[in-house]
């Protein structure tokens, strides 16, 4: 290779830094996954212990309860994997597919809630939309804020590009986890409520996650 094509040797600054090389603990994606799941579970676990499951729980069709819980759980697992776990042999999860997954899953969960909600006549309660929406959204926010903050601390440095897509997927996963716990805990029914307040938590989480990682990236670039 002729001189004008050959790279320079390591600079003095780089060599000085490398000279101080010490062993480091490398990343294990499963560890971040477990920590984020644990953070997501804090508020639901507390609420379940305090209040127990929803009042109409026993009157709801078992198949629907189990089936919808499985859908929520799969959404959580899929979104967290997209945002946290790289493909085999890679260092980073891919950002653009993670963002797409967040958008797709959020829309699907809202649509599912609007279309497939089942209530127990005589047992399920109803609230005016705005009141019910705020009731569940403030609960979801407790989960979203904790998980997104944890994700930023654990993974904020991982992506050279800032990881906005990963942030969106993790936030949407937190929202899906909120939806799963609301499926068990929320005493209020109606497709509009479940679709927009429970499913909407995934949308809100995706936006919060993306926004938080974007702001962090902008601050790092200053």
């Amino acid at each position: 290779m002729s001189d004008h094509l050959a790279p320079p040797p390591p600079s003095a600054e780089l060599l000085a830094v490398v000279e101080q090389t010490r062993p480091v603990r490398t990343r294990v994606p499963g560890r971040a996954l477990a920590i984020l799941l644990a953070l997501a579970a804090v508020a639901p676990a507390y609420t379940l212990v305090q209040s127990g499951p929803r009042a109409d729980f026993g009157a709801l069709p078992v198949g629907w309860v189990v089936g919808m819980a499985a859908v929520w759980a799969v959404a959580v697992a899929w979104l967290l994997a997209r945002g946290v776990v790289p493909k085999r042999g890679q260092v980073l999860p891919s950002d653009a597919p993670a963002a797409r997954a967040a958008a797709l899953a959020s829309v699907a969960l809202v649509a599912l809630g609007l279309a497939v909600t089942v209530d127990a006549p005589g047992h399920t309660r109803y609230l005016p939309f705005a009141e019910g929406f705020w009731h569940c959204t403030q609960y979801a926010l407790r989960i979203l804020v904790l998980v997104v903050a944890g994700a930023l601390l654990l993974l904020g440095r991982v992506h050279p590009s800032g990881g906005v897509g990963a942030g969106a997927a993790i936030g949407a996963a937190a929202g899906a986890f909120a939806g799963l716990s609301l499926h068990v805990l929320c005493p209020f029914g109606g497709g509009l409520h479940v679709g927009l307040a429970h499913g909407g938590a995934a949308v809100l989480g995706g936006l919060l996650g993306a926004g938080t990682f974007a702001v962090a990236r902008a601050l790092r670039r200053r």
Binding site: M1, A6, P7, P8, R27, P86, V91, D95, P160, S161
Partner: protein, 214 residues
Amino acid sequence: MVGLAPEVNVAGVGDETSGPDDAELMRRYCAGDRDAFHALYRRLAPRLFGYLRSLVGDRTAAEDLLQLTFLKLHRSRDVYVIGADPVPWLYTIAHRCALDERRRRKRDRVTVTKDGELPREPAVDLRGAPADRTPAPELGPAAMAGLDRLPANQREALLLTKVHGHSVATAAAIAGTTPGAIKLRAHRAYVTLRKLLPTMTETTEPAASTKEQP
């Protein structure tokens, strides 16, 4: 197509095809082995340097960016996942460094040399090509000039897939976009270069003929 060799390995000098692979060297580096860093540098710096020079078009800037890339690699060793291929990750770091440099250049009103002088404009010969433009590995002068006229995202897509031999998926991960976008950009780059290169080849060939230049 003039000057472009598909799937070219531009590792050049220092490419060690025997011995531990890149993932094993990276593992040792994370374990505190300084020699592993030097082996990684010898093996990967030529490729990254070629990529950076193609992106920023300036040897001095590319040298600085190369050092910055390896410095960021050193500081990000805790991000590495044991067993993973570090090469696409390193390309991603280099790519982001180049993008940040481009942003910084747009913000700066005046760029001065180390002596505080305004930079000398590169000389232009009568054929219209900058005198200090040196070709990237395996790329002829006409191809380099053509690449310069492509939009940045198309140039990146073409460099990553056709010059540096990355898969579409890996190139998408490095550039922070989708495989579909990379394919589209690379295709558009090819179409544009096909139109540009026949005319550019005429103007960048040595003026051996008696034909007058415009």
